[in-house]
Symmetry: D2
Subunit: 305 residues, 4 copies
């Protein structure tokens, strides 16, 4: 087992870029404990703190990348999430400017600036104790997840605000303890990045943020040689799931359909023909919404004999 | 308790129209057992049957409308679904032309005709026994739901293919035994329509159809006087949910946001201010996808003290 | 030539409904001068006027319907727009609540009410003189168009806020003097409705309203027997155009593609195979945006030999 | 005047990346003649050619980047397009797999592979002579444009398939001779990239390709110091235009609205308040569709006094 701390990290990455320098090398089957910072780069620890946008103009700082020895283009990287625990016993959240109901960050911010609606700041420091997250007196369950995790694309460097073929900012609540993640390997070493843990998050992450927390993540890496996948896959005890996300020319409807098409192809690997798989998904399919621009379409494993 | 059969119905309605003639009058708190036909108007009972498009050019035939005595514009109709059971021990499904991955029926059909992809018909008669629905040998759970249910709009007559403010073809799996539905009353008597039951359906109803079945539905009507709601609401033991759907100028993203906004307003009725409600939904919100053009955003009741 | 006044109309229709009673019968090739009221039912004639929402809860009042003798389901109605002139030498516009940047009327209104941004009312009475419309001192060109025009659907009654297969609230600037409109005939007599004229309107009608005016419209009706079209078509000296609009499950991207698919099929009628047509549209196609939920895709006639 | 040839370029870039090495340095006001290759990297010159996907796995190869001396983050780069001429007297086009009606390249390709519709290849070599482009015997006008042009983003490397804040694959027909383009400067030297010229292209570029040609582009660079813009702007004799594009969480509707919001802010620079600007755009606004995921919203300059 290896350990990788924020101190080891030093400077964070804010894009998932094939040119990012590996910070650590891992062997297949190796277990890693990695520290991640919260989405606002750790600037908000108490109610009077202000985020310094000069020092952290971007969000969702990434730990890594981790170079997986032996991983090559055309393979699939497997990441088992063994444990996600809060580093400092608290998280934070806020509303900012309401803009999250108005569209993605950049356009919503422009429109909000134009409109200037009067929205409370909504900043809260939220204690996390054992299995509980506190919203004032209200006790919410601790259901940790990783908001941003993925491998380097081949050609692009993707902001950690965005999801894509490489994973990235999927904000899927099912990316939690006990799940297995599968990512395309596009560059030597795969270059695994992760960060942006949440103590709990709802589907849609409708205010634009969840309970953002610094975390200590235990994970184990694996590799499937010579098997290429087009989009991330997720597996837990109950479901196999395929990810789809919006992007230029892909609407949310397209993302859902695409996730199902890829799920059908995955079901084919279990010996079910794609047309039967398609019908079965129309009866048993389950859609998990991450943030509003990413979904996972799942099928229950118990019907895959 | 009243009973309303397909024979009482006679001719079906294929649009939810304020001008549809009431077929039965119900008092508040009255329980009704109503028979509904399947989405293809009962034309497909065995593998050799063909749907007669001259006799049933439209889908999702409606039983009713039921006139609720005392209901007036500005009230809210409450419908408790007590039981949905299969009338004839079977349902059916099919693929048709693949077009459901391509968009809504009408446009997808045009594009499919243009493309002429080679898709199997996928017709199946599916036996339903007790708690099981059979897909060949594969035993699926019986999880019944009503695909199309709603009250008459004020001005429009809406095809039973479409959802809207009035409910209609929402295809939400949570519209099932034990739930309470709330609909806007826009015309005298509310004019409740329902039909299009499914033995089981996944989120997204990705092939365009589920396990379509004729059913016997037991329901109880209630009324909240002088309380107007804008969109349907759904409540079960665990969640309160607000419905949103796509439509001219409302994308799926808009539908999700709108459902959440209305959910936040519902949470205000529980004494939580809308901004707190908004943050809480970002942690605990749950989105159920019906067909691809309708969603429900839900909040767990146990956090509403 | 026949004349049909607002007095003949009496009560307006606010939905395009196959059950609307014909107000006048027209023969093929007959010319009609019809008066239409503005989108706010004539309530706003001077700056101090207020719209009475009790008397006119809906917008885009329709004149008609006109029953075209001989028109039957499966035919195509042709409407030539010969002249659109302002009835009273002025129009009006307003901003209301900004909500038009936020989505379609209903959802946008809900979100605006939630947000309460501070937006000016923006009401203006705008004089129209000859070829000029005045925005204070700024002289804009008079480019009249009909915002809402269509034939009755078969099954549905569609609010005059919405466009669809039947036409309706397309808000296309190309629906102007000299164009020919083609609409599907779904019911006996076709039942032509029209209203909601604009003195000038930009693509997107981004504030939600244009220069709304009462108008006197001269048109001539024609009929193509036994030719069914799926969506409205528009023709002028330069272009043939096919209409597409958003709706449940049809995104704006889908609407654009669908308009092009139907345009390609129209080009086939000129002897160009659909695949060549498709390539040619990729070089010469032109998209006109009406309101944000309706488009027309056009091809220049001079390349149709 | 400087000249930059394909030989000077050597290896092409397929992403617009702040880490791309400058290939030439330009002073403000300098004029450049730059050669660009066609979208398939020059592999298709005659009907029997096949694109070698191993050598050119990506499309839209870029010439440059050009480092503009003095350009710094927070400035605006100005590019005047003086002339676009075909390098070799021909262009090419094709259909490939029909998938362009189905969504963006990646998802559409997956769905097409699943569906396997029977679509002709549609490959054509198209001669370009003076002002004419030949589609078999049909003479089309030569209306050249640059499909992909932009400055480096700060953080991301964007595939040349995609548009964004930085410009990129906008495929706007108005990016033609005589226009002025404004791009945000995010990194020292701005790093201008360009390529992917089209001899003619329709709105929507509905087959996914236009008449793709290698070209010789004459342009002149300028700089506005200390003026930051959020999205590209375009200006010609008649219009000022602001660009918007779809992307994670921004639907096409959002892209149109965002382009108008930014256009309104630009109009403010002319002394028109934003609310009047908003109303005026509702009367005079014009939307140009590039490929289906990029638009420009324009306002006629003659009404800006």
């Amino acid at each position: 087992m290896k350990k990788f701390t924020l101190k080891d990290q030093g400077k964070f990455y804010y894009s998932i870029d094939p040119k990012n320098k590996p910070r650590m090398y891992l062997d297949i089957s190796e277990t890693l404990i990695v520290e991640t910072e919260d989405s606002s780069s750790g600037h908000i620890r108490k109610m009077t703190d202000k985020r310094d946008y000069k020092k952290a103009p971007h969000s969702n700082p990434q730990s890594g990348p981790f170079y997986i020895n032996g991983a090559e283009k055309g393979d699939t990287l497997v990441v088992e999430l063994l444990n996600i625990r809060p580093s400092i016993g608290q998280g934070n959240t806020r509303l900012q400017k309401w803009w999250w109901y108005l569209g993605h960050r950049e356009s919503a911010q422009t429109i909000s600036d134009f409109l200037q609606p009067n929205i409370p700041d909504g900043l809260r420091i939220m204690p996390i104790e054992k299995d509980t997250v506190y919203f004032d007196q209200l006790a919410l369950p601790y259901k940790p997840m990783i908001g941003t995790i993925g491998t380097a694309p081949e050609l692009e460097a993707v902001s950690t605000y965005l999801p894509g073929h490489h994973g990235g900012n999927m904000d899927l609540p099912c990316v939690t303890n006990g799940c297995k993640l599968y990512f395309p390997v596009k560059v030597p070493g795969a270059l695994l990045h992760l960060g942006d843990a949440h103590a709990i998050q709802g589907e849609g992450e409708i205010s634009g943020v969840a309970v953002e927390m610094p975390a200590e993540v235990t994970l184990k890496v694996g590799l499937i040689k010579n098997k290429a996948i087009d989009w991330p896959r997720i597996e837990n005890d109950e479901y196999i799931m395929s990810v789809g996300c919006t992007g230029a020319g892909r609407t949310l409807e397209d993302a859902i359909r695409l996730a199902y098409v890829n799920l059908n192809l995955w079901m084919e690997e279990y010996g079910i023909n794609r047309w039967d798989a398609w019908e079965l998904c129309s009866f048993l399919g389950k859609v998990t919404l991450g943030n509003i621009w990413c979904v996972a379409a799942g099928f229950p494993k118990k019907y895959l004999r």
